[in-house]
Amino acid sequence: MSRSASADEQRRARVAASLKRRYGAERRFRLYGQLAVLVGLGFVALLFVSIFSKGYSAFEQTYVRVDVNYDPEVLDPAGTRKPEDLADGDYGAIVKAALRATAPEVESRAELKQLYALASNSAPRALQARIAADPTLLGRRESVWVLASDHVDQIVKGYIRRDESEESRGVTDLQIKWIDALRAKGALERRFNRQFFSGGDSREPEQAGVAGAVVGSFFTLLVTLLLSFPIGVAAAVYLEEFAPKNRYTDFIEVNINNLAAVPSIVFGLLGLAVFVQFFGLPRSVPLVGGLVLTLMTLPTIIIASRAALKAVPPSIREAALGMGASRVQAIVHHVLPLAMPGMMTGGILGMARALGESAPLLLIGMVAFIVDVPRRLTDPSTVLPVQVYLWARSSERAFVERTSGAIIVLLVFLLVMNGLAVLLRSRFERRW
């Protein structure tokens, strides 16, 4: 066939024209993608900025300095100096006396009440702890920083505006005057809020901490991880490598996929019926929470693990079997190590979801108000997302920043967990 020059020319022109269209489409496509990523990142940034700007102040707390006189007459009227008698002393009176000294002009009972409200009601306990630690303080004077009440704290942080009416802000004009006076004296200070990280929940915002929820979350996830990962991997290995492919295994597969899509609250109901009501396990404990979350994360882990197993090249299995390895040997020696990173990714996703889960845990009672930091898997406790929910529901203004603070802790928890998992995974990953 001979080629005609004009036909060639025409064809080239057509290709050139279509090229232009194709490049245009490509550019548009890229632009859409970049826009989508930008919008996504924008929302994430917004979320972080808003949470951090609201929450970081929860990591600081206002303290007030008072000059305390550990009067033996008040603290140990019987004069025994025994620790149990010292613990029974009237520390409230000591705090009140110290506060009175900061504003000697106050006389009326109503005003005194306002004055006493400047310090947190945990102040007497703080003094008691000091005496218990060092009984020789008795009869001496010292300057002590005690927690200010949440209203004082909110005024200092500027969350309660001074131009609001007295009723709506919950702080009287007189109190504001004292706060300013104390500040001018340097007797009012924002300090690092250790209580927030070491304490359990409290009705008083200034004393409330996330430690109870953090430990509860940790215990719950520990149970979830220890149960769901081995069971999930074992189930995946069995289904993928050993189970015959027939109607029953198809049925199981369909059901596992469906389970992964079941709303988590349903697992909560199931856990309540099975673990609490049938097996009689206690409510509100991390053990049961972990069991419920195990039910929820198992399908995710099984599906991810099966995908990881499927991705292992069959030639590796053949090589092992051809060498005379048994099926279990082929899987344990060769297939599992190659599938492990993928399985761990599934595990991380499952755990991350479990960490953020609150609905199923509400149903098994992990929403109770618990002051003590749990020590055992069977101690009543709550978890971080439920703590966030509890605080978000509270009316005190000081809980608003604490809610954001708890979310920050939750995010950090998540980052640490994911970081650890990525580290672990990279150790498993074979680079050849």
Binding site: E318, A319, M323, G324
Partner: protein, 297 residues
């Protein structure tokens, strides 16, 4: 082309001959047995390592191997040739029961190793595969070190008790596979970091580390360049001294170079078996001739 007897009629008009295996009561092949087969040429040899008699393989509905009978001789290489999809790999995989791993594969007939039925219920596949090793088409070293690749077989079969013994086996296997000089300084390096030809020789070293009696090779050179191919071919020729080797190949020259006997498969049937030089210079079946002269396949 000369047809020597009535079993070599054209395939489509072949008479239905009853294909029964003549075997004695214990299941062992009798010496000098009479085999009724449609295959042209000499399917039996004296003192075979492995024998197959009327083997049929089905993949579900598909009849992939039809009444194949053949012997594998000791210390020699037999090449399986034939067009794509004719069942060479399928038959090869019957010889060490790799077909067991395929869900819908069904193997019928008698295959013996040293006179013992390998499909017998008492036969352990793990032990069988230690005696009948396999090298695959695509080099498939384990994603572990070179040392670990070779040491794997002896380890799982408990062939060694000390590290020194294992070192010894690894070294001799790599030497036999002609790879020692190239890798002796990087035994702890990854097996997958070798070139394709080196990887394939590593797989051969891995297979001979357990000292099998038979080595099955499924197109071992199809992913290799001519130089690597030549090395592997030399290696096969050396290995012949100690092992029986069955090799599947699409390369006629390769079959001619490395094998002593050649078997030609066509659509699941074994058409002709014979000494390699005779098959290539003077094939007795028309299909064989068509294939090796390049008329189809």
């Amino acid at each position: 082309m000369s047809f020597s007897n009535d079993t070599t009629l054209k395939l489509d008009s072949r008479p239905e001959v009853p294909r029964t295996v003549v075997a004695n009561a214990s299941g062992e092949m009798a010496a000098g047995e009479e085999i009724k087969t449609a295959t042209v040429g000499q399917v039996t040899v004296a003192n075979p390592v492995m024998s197959a008699r009327t083997v049929n393989v089905h993949y579900g509905e598909k009849h992939a191997i039809k009444d194949v009978s053949i012997d594998v001789a000791n210390n020699s290489v037999i090449a399986f040739i034939g067009p794509s999809g004719c069942g060479k790999s399928t038959f090869l995989r019957c010889l060490n029961r790799m077909n067991d791993t395929i869900e819908n594969a069904r193997v019928e007939g008698l295959i013996t190793l040293d006179g013992n039925d390998i499909y017998d219920r008492r036969q352990d596949v793990v032990q069988l595969r230690a005696r009948v090793g396999m090298v695959f088409q695509k080099p498939n070293p384990f994603p572990k070190s070179i040392y670990e690749n070779v040491a794997y077989g002896p380890r799982i079969h408990g062939l060694v008790t000390s590290r020194a013994d294992l070192d010894e086996i690894v070294q001799t296997s790599l030497r036999k596979a002609g790879l020692w000089e190239e890798v002796k300084d990087r035994l702890d390096g990854p097996g997958t970091g070798l070139s394709g030809g080196q990887q394939q020789r590593l797989c051969i070293a891995r297979a001979i580390a357990v000292d099998p009696e038979v080595i099955l090779m499924d197109e071992p050179c199809s992913a290799l360049d001519p130089i690597a191919t030549a090395k592997v071919e030399d290696l096969i020729d050396e290995l012949r001294e100690n092992y029986a080797i069955v090799i599947v190949t699409h390369n006629m020259q390769q079959a001619a170079r490395v094998s002593q006997r050649t078997a030609y498969f066509h659509l699941g049937e074994l058409i002709e078996v014979g000494p390699t030089d005779q098959i290539f210079t003077n094939p007795r079946h028309r299909l064989t001739e068509d294939y090796i002269t390049g008329r189809f396949g």
